[in-house]
Symmetry: C2
Subunit: 311 residues, 2 copies
């Protein structure tokens, strides 16, 4: 009996997110025809024009106390008042010295200032922001062009992309969806919308139930693993019980406020590009030596437009 697995090839092959190549099948018979390009090969061959560079004003850089970073992109087209609040909060140093205060497994990572004033206790308050902001949970569908994802969705009549943001629609309105890595604004009971003084990002199975009930304001595009690899909180709902468990956010800056030589550019694949269409099809419908039974579908949150540092 022969051990047929190598850690490396097995790993590579299991990596549905990246690889469908048959290049690892060194011992397999050569296929008669050239195999279909993999999703990764399609991305690698994308023309420069298929990538959109984020505006530096729309990128936020968080530096954590262990020296790691996370970068998120803002979505002013969907939540302009909340996004304006975030820019103002960043400028006034609100998040400098803030902390990751909650990590609930399979759900969210949440950060904010532990010393923020609450109804029942004094503390710091944000200055000069709109509080409460309007409920920027969804937008009228009229005039919004959605690049559709053609597969069925559990939650909405239609799903797809607007400016490379994942969206859902019932025909009357359009909203950003709570996919992995998307950022929302923590809040209390309605009509409270949250000012953006505390934010969360989604991990685990997309909690689409939150859609249209909270303001989605952005997406983590770099360093997501530096938020998700934390110890889970053992308090109710994953809040840490003690400040010693917090991960401090040393500083939060708009990319556009950094010195030119410290700025980094990031790009997102244009959801309306031919490359995006091919990439989705490769992941959903293309059989390979590993995926003998292609799913013939892919859900929106498994088909977020790829992001990359600008080459």
């Amino acid at each position: 009996m022969k051990a047929v697995f190598s850690q490396t090839s097995r790993g590579l092959l299991l990596a549905a997110l990246l690889a469908t190549s048959s290049a690892f099948a060194a011992d397999a018979p050569k296929p008669a025809t050239k195999p279909a390009p993999t999703a990764q090969e399609i991305l690698d061959a994308a023309p420069v024009s298929a990538w959109t560079t984020y505006a530096a004003e729309d990128l936020v850089v968080m530096t954590l106390s262990d020296g790691t970073e996370a970068v998120y992109a803002l979505a002013p087209a969907f939540a302009p008042v909340h996004v304006d609040n975030i820019r103002k909060l960043v400028h006034q140093g609100w998040f400098d010295g803030a902390a990751i205060i909650r990590v609930q497994d399979g759900f969210v990572v949440q950060w904010g200032r532990p010393d923020e004033a609450e109804d029942d206790k004094p503390g710091k308050k944000p200055e000069g922001i709109v509080a409460p902001p309007p409920a920027e949970y969804e937008k009228p569908a009229a005039g919004i062009a959605i690049t559709p994802l053609k597969y069925a969705d559990t939650y909405a009549k239609k799903v797809g992309y607007v400016q490379s943001w994942p969206v859902a629609s019932d025909g009357k309105s359009v909203w950003l969806t709570h996919c992995y890595g998307m950022i929302g604004v923590a809040r209390g009971l309605a009509p409270d919308t949250g000012s953006a003084s505390q934010l969360y990002t989604v991990m685990g199975q997309a909690p689409r139930r939150l859609d249209r009930n909270l303001a989605v304001v952005g997406r983590v595009i770099f360093g997501m693993e530096n938020l998700t690899n934390r110890k889970r909180g053992t308090g109710a709902l994953g809040f840490y019980k003690t400040p010693e468990e917090y991960t401090t956010i040393v500083s939060t800056k708009l990319m556009s406020d950094l010195p030119a030589d410290k700025q980094k550019a990031f790009q997102v694949l244009d959801a309306a590009s031919a490359t995006m269409g091919s990439w989705i099809k490769a992941r959903a419908e293309t059989a390979s030596d590993f995926y003998k039974t292609p799913a013939m579908a892919i859900d929106l949150c498994n088909a977020l437009p790829p992001v990359r540092p600008k080459p």
Copy 2:
């Protein structure tokens, strides 16, 4: 301007997985009618008969080098040969001294023996197991009763539950789905199915693309956070680059092999119970002071039957 959020209430309210109660709305006007019970209240009120206790022979206890534990339940009804292999591997100590060798953010945590023999290198081999096992990826649908989940699914005509396991079906066959916490068998290229000498569990958005392409053999029912809170691997596909990064699995035991006073019993909510139906409805369709806009749907991987230590 008044700060209307408290960290605690905001946390509680954001916790879609648990709370839809209006109990936190101390300042809200009293509703004229009694609010609908929350998903948690429904669970708490479930009769004993709604809970099924896992057989001790179907539970595997992993003890990690930091003293934490994870417990997973096996699914012999779906992958009997792979499950039999797992029991034999556990009995021969295959996983004692194994390690978490891969953590790919938003995808999988994988464990096995770094010293396992591979095609191109000598090493340890499992003994007395069926290798390769048959491809236990799906079963003929005939005669299998599925408790349906009534909402649309992106990947399959029908989804629901068999013996509290999440399943999908195209009418011809039935298969276990790659939801958060489900356990599968790592493998190389087909027809290799993996012997079960390396296993993975799913985190992040359910990679349903893996369905019907790998053997799903169980579900983590306790301590999932002790697997997911690890540093992500920085090698290709999230493999760790150095053994120093591994988390060692000190021991793996069948619950039934532990001394009686060390055994713990776990239960899963019967997917065919009235409680399960009410729980799903509460999470999908019930508006509350927090969820003003209920989704009116829930996807399978957000509706896994709840598990608990037997009270």
